[in-house]
């Protein structure tokens, strides 16, 4: 009885907070900065550098949205959140959007009342094993000890995978990625499993990365994307189409180098509509005509961001894989700008 009263009060408080923050776009414009929730640090995706400037793949999305809305990619207040505080930070209005390696799942979208506005990285759970183990497929891992982060979806995926393949395993629970890395290197487990991007980043830090291989099986779908609160579709549109603009820019050949002049010189009408030299797309969203040009000018298009932060030239060395444009056999497919 008492409990339900407390939860009721919480819900009411949450709802009023949500209602008060309904016009997020106006709030952001009035404030002059975008409050963007990021991780407290994930290699390649979000981390402050030695000068305290946030950089990374997720951070680039925040900067692009800030540039689209406010015309300045540095007008972002980065709010670091942990896995435990991220959803309350968004629900309570402390942040305007969350770009924090969050898997788009049914319950998060429907039950937790968030709107995932797209996918900026298609990830999946993989396995890393020492080469010396002589295993070439995850199906050969019968009876293996597996280092696994507790309380994550990866734990459930792992159980499902071994059950469907009718093989056994022994879990070695770890709390954080850093702990998993140490346990795996110390030989406490035969294989370490987490998101493939995380495995690649982890392997890149090893003293001898060549002694370890990632197994080809990807056992789960982990579409990671930015999200906003339910109930403010105008703001959701701004974030969604900023991400789409970055993806479309790569497809259309708009880069940070040519974004300033291609809007005028291009003969492609879609490029002109995207960059605001034709049509009124920005106005429809309540933004300036050059919103997309600003967003692209900060860190470049999707492909440039990928290459700078987590791509094959970086120590993390992720291949595009599923995250290539649909024209190159990937899953990135921005709806038309029309």
């Amino acid at each position: 009885m008492k409990k339900s009263v407390i939860f009721g009060a919480l819900t009411v408080a949450g709802l009023t907070a949500g209602a008060a923050a309904a016009a997020t776009l106006d709030d952001v414009k009035a404030r002059g900065t975008l409050n963007c929730g990021v991780t407290t640090g994930l290699v390649g995706f979000a981390a402050p550098d030695a000068d305290g400037r946030w950089e990374g793949f997720d951070v680039a999305v925040c900067r692009a949205v800030a540039a689209a809305v406010l015309g300045d990619g540095d007008a972002v207040e980065f709010v670091p959140t942990t896995g435990k505080t991220r959803f309350t930070a968004l629900a309570s209005g402390e942040v305007d959007m969350l770009a924090r390696n969050t898997t788009w799942t049914f319950s998060r979208d429907v039950d937790l009342k968030f709107t995932f506005i797209g996918v900026n990285y298609y990830d999946g759970q993989g396995f890393m094993v020492p080469k010396a183990l002589g295993v070439s497929s995850a199906k050969d891992l019968d009876g293996a000890t597996v280092c696994i982060q507790t309380g994550t979806t990866t734990e459930l995926n792992l159980a499902d995978f071994f059950r469907t393949n009718n093989i056994s395993y022994e879990p070695v629970p770890v709390e954080t990625n850093a702990e998993g890395q140490q346990q795996y290197l110390a030989g406490a487990c035969d294989t370490y499993t987490t998101d493939a991007s995380g495995l690649a980043a982890t392997r890149a830090t090893f003293e001898a990365p060549g002694d370890h291989i990632l197994l080809p099986e990807i056992i789960s779908k982990e579409p990671l994307g930015p999200l906003v609160r339910h109930g403010d579709d105008e703001w959701g549109d701004v974030v969604r189409w900023t991400l789409n603009a970055l993806i479309a820019a790569e497809e259309l050949g708009v880069t940070s180098a040519n974004v300033a002049e291609i809007g005028a010189s291009s003969t492609n009408p879609e490029v002109k509509r995207l960059l605001g030299t034709e049509g009124t797309l920005g106005e429809m969203m309540g933004l300036d005509a050059d919103w997309a040009a600003n967003a692209i000018a900060v860190n470049g298009n999707y492909g440039e961001i990928f290459a700078d932060t987590i791509g094959e030239e970086t120590p993390i060395g992720l291949a595009r894989g599923l995250n290539a444009q649909w024209t190159n056999g990937g899953l990135l497919y921005a709806p038309p700008f029309r």
Binding site: L10, A17, S92, A178, F206
Partner: protein, 432 residues
Amino acid sequence: MSDTHAESIPFVRETTIPQAAPPAAERGVYKWGRENLFATPGNALLTLLAIYVIYLVLSATLPWLLNGVWNAGSLSECREILAGTRGGCFAVLVDRWEQLFFGFKYPSDQLWRPTLTLVLFFVAVAPVLFFDLPRKLLAFTAVFPFLAYWLIWGGPILVPVMALIGVAVGYVVYSRLVTKSFAGGFFGGIAAAVVVWFLGGYVIDATTGPSAMLRSVPSRDLGGYMLNFMLGVTCVSLSVPIGIALALGRQSSMPLIKWLSVIFIEFIRGVPLITLLFVASVMLAYFFPPNSTVDLFLRVVIMITMFSSAYIAEVIRGGLAALPKGQYEAADSLGLDYAQAMRLIILPQALKISIPGIVNIAVGLFKDTTLVSVISMFDLVGMIRGPILASTDWNGVYWELLGFAALLFFVVCYGISQYSQWLERRLATDHR
């Protein structure tokens, strides 16, 4: 003696023999070693075993320490320089020392402010810790919290000045009224201070311009070891007086006060600190309208202070209970009222007994401040676990960073412990 029998005695010594050194087996290192290390076969065995363990530890750590790399831009560069030999990559400490001490967002041209605050802190705390120093230094101690606030957070100087004026007015009212009744002075002082702060708020609103002498730094930009230190110092110094009040409240004969104290203490002690921190960071946000939340640093200070004051209250209650009943009766027989008896007779003795317990809690609390890293505040451990280990340059450096953090905490905790032992010796008036 005479020469009478000189011819019958072959030799007479006429001088004393110079003192000889003790035999080799009975002096110096040899004797000490024999008595302390190899007294019995069992002892000898244990000594050899201990030496072997020490050898194992040193042979593993010394090359790692001495062969360490101090100049490199990233972990992979470190490994190139080491070229397969064992050695620590201490370059991370050189590269990120600012972040480790001050967090990653404190403006780097303003780092003199926290540094100056730390120096002033030692000046301010000296007369409190060492009561042989001139009492006049306490005036600086009284001003220090306001000065420190202004130095670290910056912003208009009127805010701390108004706060200081409020406290000063409160103190004047208190000292006027306290001769008549302690309670009158206490509550009168608080009321006067609140009135001044209330009025001061309007003055600040009216006069605040953009011309702040020190650039304003928001709380979320604080970090690193500075944050641990600030939380530790603030919470310990606040929780001791609150703990005393709670301990006295729990022994009070007034049922309302007694039960409020008991409920507070038992409730707070029954909840893990990390739960309180989550409440501070997450739940409270639901109860405030957006954009008008209470500062996160303040919320965390309140929660940690509540937590540690409940524990300190119990330690002090132990001290109160250890006093013989005769002390209370002696105070009554002198005609002292409750406040006087407590201030002059009971508490000085009870607090002296409680020193080890209070220090124990202070040390524990100081280390507990690292828990704030789970609510995404970047204290020393949060800095290491988050931004530094997540940078592409330094991902994979564990021992060096966490060892450095352990060293920093050890220095302060050992210092506190040594001080408390000195204090116990200094205050010892019995059992001689």
